[in-house]
Amino acid sequence: MAGKRAVEAILVKPNECHGCLTCQLICSLRGSGRFNPSRAHIMINRSKDGYEYRLSFMDGCDGCGDDILCVHSCPYGALILERN
């Protein structure tokens, strides 16, 4: 399972997200060699009051090949890989 197919297999559990940015940081490091959430291909969309999070993937996401770093890095179980 590589690339886009891997992304499609990610189950997002927004209620588990604690807003820690780990997924974005690992993604930005892989993609740009630098840490910055704005350079990530995974988005954390916060509610206006900042208490809730929604996660989404941008078109540029290639699932890190087979690595799917965001899933493996999430410390709170908000991103889970569903194997077919």
Partner: protein, 646 residues
């Protein structure tokens, strides 16, 4: 040069002139002071004119980011702000979680703020676009409203440091909050920002943080992270945070009713955790932290049902609770009101307790209290929070802090005040003497739990455990012998020197103050992360030395303000017995094998200054110590002022 790990620049903002400039990171600053509080302490020493009035335009605020902030180093998002504090005229450094990563993404390791704007403004930092923006629409609004509005204007991902009405009203116990959860408290930072007409600082950016050795950095960071994920109590921690230490807190936390009586509430602290779990709504983590400790709480039934309140720790929900007349919902209401006003909840509670105590003792009258009775109840407390935040009536007197207020109430008022450097001591050494109570006395800015999580803060540790811990902390062997001088007793005062330096070096890197997070670090791990992130080689010992250097320059800054050993005072109250239900508790040594006298405490201070290499009589750094720490410039300055010998 292009820095790795660092953002690479500092920012200067003069609110009086509107001038804003960017400056390159100074290599000597990096070499000697590493980053974070090392930077802010050093810059504050250089910039804050000795004797300056804290609420004048001439005071400075230096906001800093730890070197590891914004990276994947777990639990490293500490922001700090060094300034001259209006509560006690000390130069101090409040800390919180958050903001620091966004500041670095914008390209800055620190921000220097001085002057006074001619109208309410907020400082907007978006990459190279840095400007002062009119804040008239948020002036007068509470911290939460302000934060939400500024995020709506600048993108919800930005980070906001904001003050509330208490800061605007120059209340000397006011704080600033970071993204509604973090508290830059203890000492009146909110009033300093308010005096500058600076309602908020907003930051975000698109610049990335480069890493010198990505593979090396990720190997160490991942190893720390894995260990944190396997923290045996992680599931409970993610909801309760520091409240999981209920059993420990029940032994070391403070007393009720203005230090008169051991609170039954605190004795039954363990039962509190169940109640806290019922109001827990959701956890909110600082960046890259697998050990979230910030909680949103919601009252699900009873009084104020539906109230949702962000807390820097769910433990703070009980800050106002009094067993007999107060319940958890009422306490949350008080905490929420404090946060909205931008009042330091711990200090506010202490002031209100003090006022009620004086009223009950007949020292202040109903007339003094604006025609109202002051009782140990919710109504009095809620009423006084509002009055302090708005400086109304009696609240206007209390708004200047414990010492200033006590002077308004005559000799009897002064006798009943319990404070260290003008601040509430927070913990009662009679319940248990730990490193926290001692370090609160010698801390340059006054009491706080700076080195919290260090071994001396916990009761029941053996000499063998302390010796092992000291080795982990890179304490020199000869010092370990002085600390662990017998098989049954260790020297608490000598130990806290190293705990402070340990904490100080972590603060340079931005490593969190929470004891659980810090327990996954030591100087060797921290040095590896720093070296791989920046490309600058540093050893564990050099990192510890940098922490000591940062601590000494902060102490020197306060020595220059006139602080000496006389200010490192153990409150008289703690030599009186503490009344519990069926007994009296007296001040005892750490092992609780013997009662302590004033002479014993003074001897502990002697040992502390000796271990620090400071002047025992004055309680300030010596020329030799400063020179050993590569602080010849500070030594020359203090010598010029005849504060140290030639």
């Amino acid at each position: 040069m292009e820095f790795k790990g660092y953002a690479g620049s500092g920012l200067w903002v003069d609110l009086s002139t509107g001038n804003i400039r960017k400056e390159p990171l100074d290599l000597d600053l990096v070499r000697r002071f590493v980053g974070g509080s090392g930077f802010t302490n050093k810059l504050a020493y250089d910039l804050i004119p000795p004797g300056v009035e804290p609420l004048s335009p001439e005071n400075f605020v230096v906001i800093g980011s730890g070197v590891l902030s914004g990276t994947l180093a777990p639990g490293c998002t500490k922001v700090m702000a060094t300034t001259k504090l209006p509560i006690n005229n000390a130069i101090g450094t409040p800390f919180a979680g958050g903001f620091s990563h966004r500041l670095k993404y914008a390209g800055y390791d620190y921000v220097i703020i001085t002057g006074r704007a001619d109208r309410p403004v907020y400082l907007k930092i978006m990459d190279d676009d840095v400007s002062l923006v009119d804040a008239s629409h948020v002036w007068g609004k509470d911290i939460f409203e302000t934060t939400d509005l500024l995020k709506a204007e600048n993108g919800v991902d930005c980070s906001v440091i904001a003050i509330g009405k208490a800061g605007e009203n120059l209340v000397r116990i006011s704080l600033a909050m970071v993204d509604k959860f973090g508290t830059l408290g203890r000492g009146g930072l909110g009033a300093v920002l308010g005096s500058k007409n600076l309602k908020a600082v907003v930051a975000n950016g698109t610049k990335g943080i480069g890493i010198a050795d990505i593979a090396g950095f990720m190997e160490v960071a991942s190893s720390v992270r894995e260990k944190m994920l396997n923290f045996p109590l992680r599931k409970e921690w993610l909801k309760l945070g520091v409240a999981i230490g209920a059993m420990i807190f029940s032994k070391i936390m403070g007393t009720g009713k203005n230090w008169e009586k051991l609170s039954a509430q605190i004795q039954d602290f363990t039962g509190q955790t169940q109640k806290l779990l019922q109001i827990f709504q959701s956890g909110h983590a600082c960046p890259a932290c697998p050990l979230n400790c910030r909680a949103l709480v919601t009252l699900k039934d009873g009084e104020y049902t539906g109230l949702t309140a962000p807390t820097s720790s769910i433990l703070h929900s009980v800050a106002f609770e009094r067993n007999d007349t107060f319940n958890l919902n009422q306490s949350v209401k008080c905490l929420d009101l404090c946060n909205r006003y931008g009042l330091d909840a711990l200090e506010t509670k202490a002031l209100i307790d003090y006022a009620i105590d004086l009223y009950q003792a007949g020292i202040i009258t109903k007339e003094d209290a604006d025609g109202q009775e002051l009782n140990w109840d919710f109504t009095t407390t809620l009423n006084l929070i509002g009055k302090i935040g708005c400086r109304e009536g009696l609240g206007g007197i209390l708004a200047d802090g414990l010492i200033a207020a006590s002077k308004k109430f005559g000799k009897l008022g002064i006798e009943r005040v319990v404070a260290i450097k003008g601040l509430n001591p927070m913990v009662d050494p009679r319940a248990h003497l730990s490193g926290c109570e001692l370090s609160s006395c010698v801390n340059p800015r006054g009491p706080n739990v700076s080195a919290g999580g260090a071994i001396s803060f916990f009761p029941g540790k053996t000499v063998q455990q302390v010796a092992k811990y000291c080795q982990k902390m890179s304490v020199p062997e000869e010092a370990i012998k002085r600390i662990c001088f017998s098989d049954t007793e260790f020297n608490l005062a000598r130990l806290i020197k190293y705990e402070e330096d340990w904490y100080s070096s972590y603060s340079c890197l931005g490593i969190c103050a929470r004891g659980v997070v810090k327990s996954y670090y030591n100087q060797h791990i921290a040095a590896k992360l720093y070296t791989s992130a920046t490309g600058f080689d540093v050893t564990a010992i050099e990192l510890q030395d940098a922490g000591e250097r940062a601590w000494n320059i902060l102490k020197a800054a306060n020595a220059r303000e006139g602080f000496t050993r006389k200010d490192d005072k153990f409150p008289d109250k703690f030599f009186e017995p503490l009344k519990a239900e069926d007994k009296e508790i007296r001040l005892m040594n750490y092992n609780r094998t013997r009662e302590l006298t004033r002479d014993d405490i003074e001897k502990m201070f002697d040992d502390y200054y000796d271990e620090r290499g400071w002047d025992i009589e004055k309680g300030i750094p010596t020329r030799k110590k400063l020179e050993d720490l590569d602080l010849e410039d500070v030594a020359a300055d203090l010598q010029k002022k005849d504060m140290i010998s030639h």
